[in-house]
Amino acid sequence: MNSARDAFLGRVREAVAAGNRAGHAGPLEPRGSAGYQGAGTDPVACFKDTFAAAGGQTHLVSDTETAVSCVLGLVQAAGARKILLGRGNFVDKLALSERLRSEGREVCLTDALPAGQNREILFAADLGISGVDYLIAETGSVVVLTRASEPRSLSLLPPVHIAVAERSQLLPDLFDLFGLSPLPRFGGEGWGVRGKNHPGLGPLTPDPSPRSTGERGEHALPLTFDEAVQQGRTDLPSCLTLITGPSKTGDIEMRLVTGVHGPREIHVVFINR
């Protein structure tokens, strides 16, 4: 608490009171179903289309073994030597690191980077392989949450990003990610700790009072994401990213160029079962 803050909020409070017209400061009406697009009768096809429209490529496969060969083929096609490989129940199941190494690729597991050299390795990688937390059919988006085993860089720094997903992670609409859909959800592994059933981002329980932060000292902050979720103190990771296609710019004469900052290619290897 300081005087600049209090003066600031005092000014805002006065301006709010002075500018509020009678009857206009009531509670917010619910959205209802406005703007809910959904994914039609075939959400997988819908995702494939919208993701393609955004410039991404979906590779539908039927089981883990074909998923692995698909990933290996993409790595081969990209001519990638240095591979960043994320960790997570689902990615681990594919046992990619042995296969990639046996093909002569250099593999760095994101939870086992040598201390002090993170930055060099992350910047030098040719290709990143991650899991996903959700896919959104309506918008053609891949949702990834930052966690200790999957850093932000994984889907960002390498010029090619391969995301491995399965059908249970597919949500029809962006609104479903935020847990507000009136329509049935596809379920999904949940996020936070993968495998734990965590129903979407959901609305939080309303904050009892914005002023109740005096007890902050009782909890040693910052918490890990898992601790924070367990304590009900946050429902969100430090970083959540929706990726809708490859990195794009139109800054030169409005011509579309991919890969100006982020990956120039993004592939979703989708186990459709």
């Binding site: 909020l9 993170n118 910047f123 981002l201 430090s238 809708t244 800054d251």
Partner: protein, 468 residues
């Protein structure tokens, strides 16, 4: 308070004239705005219930602004709960000091910045450079603009006034080698130059598209990914936001995400939507160790108390620029402020002063295309008229009054009116060229200095009606 004064007050009419006689700019503006306006219409049309969703988005903004003090306090508490810091800046000077002080305390020397109009508004870069901190703009368009020493000319396409040849020259100078001027290899050079900066950066500065009070989350939207890099590589992240950017709940966020990209470029979503909640957590490999949110007033609370409050609902998508027949011809620089186009014609006079920007409320035909394109349906024409009223308060124009009184008397007497029309036809028609008068005599010269006047028809409507 007059943050624009030192840099941007300029002769509007001359700037317009200059823009209209720049064929390359005319071509670029027409190409950009036509493409984006068509995309905007397509974007709304493709989303079922987009009209209702836009109404809802407007209600959320109205609600947030009418409880702004509460939501700002809640936002502060939420951010502190996840280990972030919140700073309050009453004006541009305070905001600059706060950012410089954060950088100094954390011993930062090299800053990367993702596109932020608010940082342009407070003229942050010169302040950081004066404190010995190197600043690099990382949005590719902004990077070009920074190298050229210019200001952005469009909210989402800041370098639209450049050709690939001029961009090639600018980047060649910076890279120290002659570059081919095809877009792909220029972008590739941009990537290489900027990757070096990201590698070295210790301070990341971003704007904020939306801040969620409930969770302390800030949303950043980019197509290139520079917003992600800025919040991944640097060990300190400073996010700068105008106080009107706060929305109540996480559930409100997708409403705006669905509309922002559709309105701006017709995309269903921009490529990267990043939700940042506090600094990196223990065990994580990247992301900032410190997270700071700087909340800026800089005239906004003054606006909040007035009927111009609606202008604070703007989500900076640029749709009104693309729709505006005036912007489409004169481009962003002619407006002279950080914010251009229809919304800039409201924001600049309000943040700065109406008297210092007398032309802006008139840089509009009041056709309403801006409001039609706006994702939150801001009644821009209404506010432009309101600003015009403010300009004339307490400044009665005697000549104008006389003209209207004369009109009133003439209009009430049919014979006199017909006589006046006959006289006008007699004197004005010989001066007309192809139905237009390029120069009017007397006080009418003020009108024809910048636009043509339609010549009176050969016959009046009543005369033609008789013959039909």
């Amino acid at each position: 308070m007059n943050v624009f004064a030192a840099h941007e007050h300029h002769a509007f009419v001359e700037a317009v004239d200059h823009a209209l006689h720049d064929p390359q700019l005319q071509k670029a503006m027409a190409g950009l705005t036509e493409t984006l306006l068509a995309a905007n219409r397509r974007g709304y049309a493709a989303l079922p219930g987009s009209a209702e969703l836009r109404d809802h988005a407007k209600r959320i903004k109205e609600h947030a602004l009418s409880h702004l003090d509460q939501y700002l306090e809640q936002l502060e508490a939420s951010i502190q709960r996840v280990g972030g810091h919140v700073h309050w800046a009453a004006n541009a000077e305070e905001a600059r000091q706060i950012v410089v002080e954060i950088a100094r305390k954390a011993n930062c020397r090299r800053a990367v910045k993702s596109k932020s109009m608010t940082s342009e508004e407070i003229h942050l870069n010169p302040a950081l450079e004066a404190a010995g901190i190197e600043v690099t703009e990382t949005d590719f368009g902004e990077f070009i603009i920074q190298l050229a020493g210019e200001r952005p000319s469009h909210l989402v396409a800041p370098a639209v006034h450049h050709t690939r040849q001029s961009i090639g020259r600018i980047l060649s100078r910076r890279a120290g080698e002659q570059l081919a001027d095809d877009p792909a290899s220029l972008a590739c050079t941009g990537r290489r130059l900027l990757r070096e900066k990201f590698y070295q950066a210790d301070l990341g500065i971003t704007g904020v598209n939306f801040a969620v009070a409930e969770t302390g989350t800030i949303a950043l939207v980019t197509n290139e990914g520079n917003g992600r890099l800025t919040t991944t590589c640097a060990r300190v992240h400073v996010a700068l936001m105008g106080m009107e950017k706060v929305i109540p709940r996480l559930a409100d966020l997708p409403v705006f995400l669905k509309l922002l990209a559709r309105a701006a470029t017709g995309q269903t979503l921009s490529v990267y939507t990043t939700l940042i909640t506090g600094p990196r957590r223990p065990g994580e490999l990247d992301g900032p160790e410190e997270f700071h949110l700087v909340i800026l007033d800089n005239g906004r609370s003054r606006i909040l108390a007035t009927p111009f409050r609606e202008s604070l609902q703007c989500i900076r998508c640029g749709a009104c620029l693309n729709a505006c027949p005036v912007y489409r011809r004169i481009g962003g620089h002619a407006y002279g402020g950080v914010y251009s186009g229809p919304i800039g014609s409201i924001l600049t006079p309000l943040y700065d002063s109406v008297s210092a920007n007398p032309h802006l409320p008139h840089a509009s035909s009041l056709c309403g295309a801006c409001q039609t394109a706006c994702p939150v349906r801001i009644n821009i024409p209404h506010m432009l008229v309101g600003l015009r009223e403010l300009q004339h308060q307490g400044k009665p124009n005697r000549l104008e009054k006389l003209a209207y009184r004369t009109w009133y008397h003439v209009f009430r007497r049919p014979r006199l009116y017909r006589l006046a029309l006959a006289l006008a036809r007699l004197f004005l028609r010989p001066m007309a060229r192809e139905g237009w008068l390029q120069r009017l005599p007397g006080p009418g010269a003020g009108w024809t200095a910048t636009r043509d006047f339609p010549a009176p028809a050969r016959q009046s409507f009543r005369q033609r009606w008789r013959d039909l």
